[in-house]
Symmetry: C2
Subunit: 588 residues, 2 copies
Amino acid sequence: MRDHQLIILPEKRVLTAPEGTIVSALLFENGIPIGFPCRQRGLCGKCLVEIVAGEAGLADPAERAVLDRQNRPPEFRLACRLTLRGPLSIRIAPQARLSTIAPLIEGRRRIMIIDPPLKKFAVAAPAASAADPESALDGLLAAFTPPKPAVASTVLPVLAGLDPRRAGTVTAVIYEDRRILAVEPGDSSGRAFGAAVDLGTTTVVVEIVDLSDGRTAAIAAGLNGQVRFGADVVSRITAAHLEPKKSLELRDEARRSINALLTEAFRQAGILAADCYEIVVAGNTPMNHLFLGLPMTTLAEAPFRALFSALESLDASVGGLDMNGAGRIYIAPNIKSFVGGDIAAGLAAVDIENGPEKALFIDLGTNGEIVVKNGPRFLATSTAAGPAFEGMGLSCGMIAGPGAIHKAERDGKGIDWRVLGGGEGRGICGSGLVDILAVALGQEWIDSEGRILNADRNIFLSPGLSLNQKDVREVQLAAAAIRTGIRMLLAETGLVVSDLDRIYVAGAFGSALDIGNAMRIGLIPTVLPEKIEFVGNASLAGAKVLLLSGEERMRCEKLAATIRHLSLAQDERFQEIFIDSLTFKRWK
Amino acid sequence: MRDHQLIILPEKRVLTAPEGTIVSALLFENGIPIGFPCRQRGLCGKCLVEIVAGEAGLADPAERAVLDRQNRPPEFRLACRLTLRGPLSIRIAPQARLSTIAPLIEGRRRIMIIDPPLKKFAVAAPAASAADPESALDGLLAAFTPPKPAVASTVLPVLAGLDPRRAGTVTAVIYEDRRILAVEPGDSSGRAFGAAVDLGTTTVVVEIVDLSDGRTAAIAAGLNGQVRFGADVVSRITAAHLEPKKSLELRDEARRSINALLTEAFRQAGILAADCYEIVVAGNTPMNHLFLGLPMTTLAEAPFRALFSALESLDASVGGLDMNGAGRIYIAPNIKSFVGGDIAAGLAAVDIENGPEKALFIDLGTNGEIVVKNGPRFLATSTAAGPAFEGMGLSCGMIAGPGAIHKAERDGKGIDWRVLGGGEGRGICGSGLVDILAVALGQEWIDSEGRILNADRNIFLSPGLSLNQKDVREVQLAAAAIRTGIRMLLAETGLVVSDLDRIYVAGAFGSALDIGNAMRIGLIPTVLPEKIEFVGNASLAGAKVLLLSGEERMRCEKLAATIRHLSLAQDERFQEIFIDSLTFKRWK
């Protein structure tokens, strides 16, 4: 076989390969980033190249149809349908370049390849032969090179609506490259949406994501309706365990909460529920179990184990979410009984595996989860921090929304604060709380033991807005729980704080948390500020990563399976370290 | 690496392979038939060998557990867990020998490897570690070598019932070697059942099959409740096409009919619906479509195409059958619009691909389907024969059940007959009809044009039992339809009757059809009797083949996709050949 040269412009990079080599494969083998979400099947039209010189032959009708749908002039071809038949010079179209930067976390962008398990392709539905027509489905499948995807029976009614005497276009919704979930009439390949769901113990956040480019189409947040069964995870586990039908009520409550937010977010995004074909749910282990209405026995009784870590995605109907009925629901893998899919997702969001060698990941939620990375080894734990950092369970607490005092600083002998969205403060959210306590310590309104020193036993901000002794104790206990977890994990791993290259701080705070103040009250270890990275709602960001990439999903499941868990309660050092951690003081 | 000898007794066959070679793989590569339904994962305990001499090492706990469940003495091992570590002599246990002869069709046995897509394996559910327990599911999956099967979320509640402090046994129900559909407590691996369903236009037959050995556990037959929408396929297509909600009524009617028979058959077999994990439905194309409640547009209007040929198996709930809720329903692939999954199944039942070079397959149902095989080429057609051969649509017709006259012969100047199950005849079934007409021709009660020659215009058997002129016409039309189909197919393929090596005759008749009489009235071509093979209800037998072997399923789908279809109605020769075929006469 003769060899030919392929010249790639404008780089003028020269590749040599035998006659008949497929250009996309040649580019791929030589590490030239070019996207082909359809796996070089000639369906997606993404691997566009412009023929600058040389003999490229003609596009066959199927390729031509794809190019015509994009209104491409004749010099454009699909690299996966182009073979070397002589010397050839091409220019890769900008939209064919692979790397996509997806804004994932507030203030942080992450480069990842967008390659969602759920894809839509416009494909030709050929006219039926008059003499011996093959089935409508086989006509459609002709567009797919083997191995042919499996097909759900639910697509058939749509095929019945096609005119067999006329070629047309339909859009195939394909999952994991091997299953056609749905077929839509016409070309709707541009309308593929998914949702990332952070199913928190206290709050639920839903983000609608355009699966073609990772763009956020809408976002909505609200309370988890399960709170009426108890503010913390343990009370819900107990409720469901003692009375099994409660686990179904809790399930329905979670689904209702998510569905209400989906409705709101779909409206914002201007799409229909039917446009949403995949939802990734990231919750802690009990939330993930309750979302499925599972018995809570194994989480309620020693040795406390999850029923599942990674799980096959579910039918929309099994998960009970308002989305396309043919869609799928993927649950981020649980790491262990009390370190869940929210943390697995968070670790995926920050790409912890490819990050610095020694790192700490702290999620400051109602349940505080902490993961330490020491090279290839990961150790995780969880502590019951309570909902204080989410602004709940306090006399003046509120979630970080309009009207929340989210920042505070010393002002002479007093204190000044800022309100989210301006106006009068209606309550204090987590970041405000940390600031206020740091100021109170500095002003000696409280001592390091957490005692309020004035006669009122009250930190007064304005009429109706103050923290009482009980509020301070709540924060003190929450901070001590986190601190104890970190200390014990580090001890178990043989690391000290100064070994850490990076501390990721996740949680509802987002970047509103004042790092100095958090260190001041001892919530996070004292390290150089540049080692701290606020990653905000990493669970949501991670759910989005898992929504946008099947490979990340696989990596996440693998990582989740290798993380060991340290149970604080079963450790004899726990009590002592916890009591020692109750003091508001900097880490040494 | 050193080589060692493996001696297989009693054959004394000697194989040589490097140290560390797995014995099952070595046997398999050398074409020694040994079964391992679990794909050499050490789960099924089928690849039993007895160590006669040599060093075999010890079984690990997992293998030991499998052997203990079977009460095997220590010299027995699983070939898939046995590695060569020196010279070794083994005897393959009889139950490990692969080839299984499954009785498939009345009077005919077929050798096939029983390897159903649906399998049950007893697996160890290990106790959870106290310190850092993995999830219950991951504990279970430890028994499976990678790639690990996917797991449906519905198995999780069962896992919640296991005692985490104690190792136990559960039974995994695995599908297509890659998906765990269900988990049952304890070892229920001996109770795996499926059902083969022949969904005929007129009659429905359900056969309960033991998936471990292919044995028939029960069989039940009854009418397809859809008959109230019309006796023939076309009237049902039309009904559903004109009034789309009728297609749902027809769907429900078919499902009700099948479910009634399933209930009856489960009772006979002494099993529960929950023990039945897979059902294969073989119907003609319209029946398959109506079973799914699909729009009938494409089958009602030219160019008459099916919506699907092969289809992914369905969830039990989607198919609406009374079986285990986690089970699957597989629909035998439609060949073309009017040659359906019943014929594809029938061809699989007779293994037509590996049979004689030139063959004819005739299915004498309400719809007569005919397939001709000429080497690698297959051509099929269908003709509307009407339900006469199933005993329907006649003044004295009945299906082949107790009380049916199923045989008749000349008796002097009269006629003698036999009644199924003895006693007085209550009606005439298909085979009896053919016999009676042949006698009537011989006795000159009718002429070859089908005219009844006596004054009564009546072939009298006994009071209340006779055939009138209209009855004879029904049979005449039915036989002519079949005959026309055969003639046109042979002509199209360039074959003549004497070229045929084999004629398979399928249909409700079974072997009750008198071959000489069928030739006498011209229903089937005149060939040497030994070329005729009655295969009875080949659709049901084929459904059973597809139930018992994933490989046969794949082959069947492939064959179905390659068969071309000849549309009789669109052929200009049709009218002429049909009229010529109306005469009751032998083929020349």
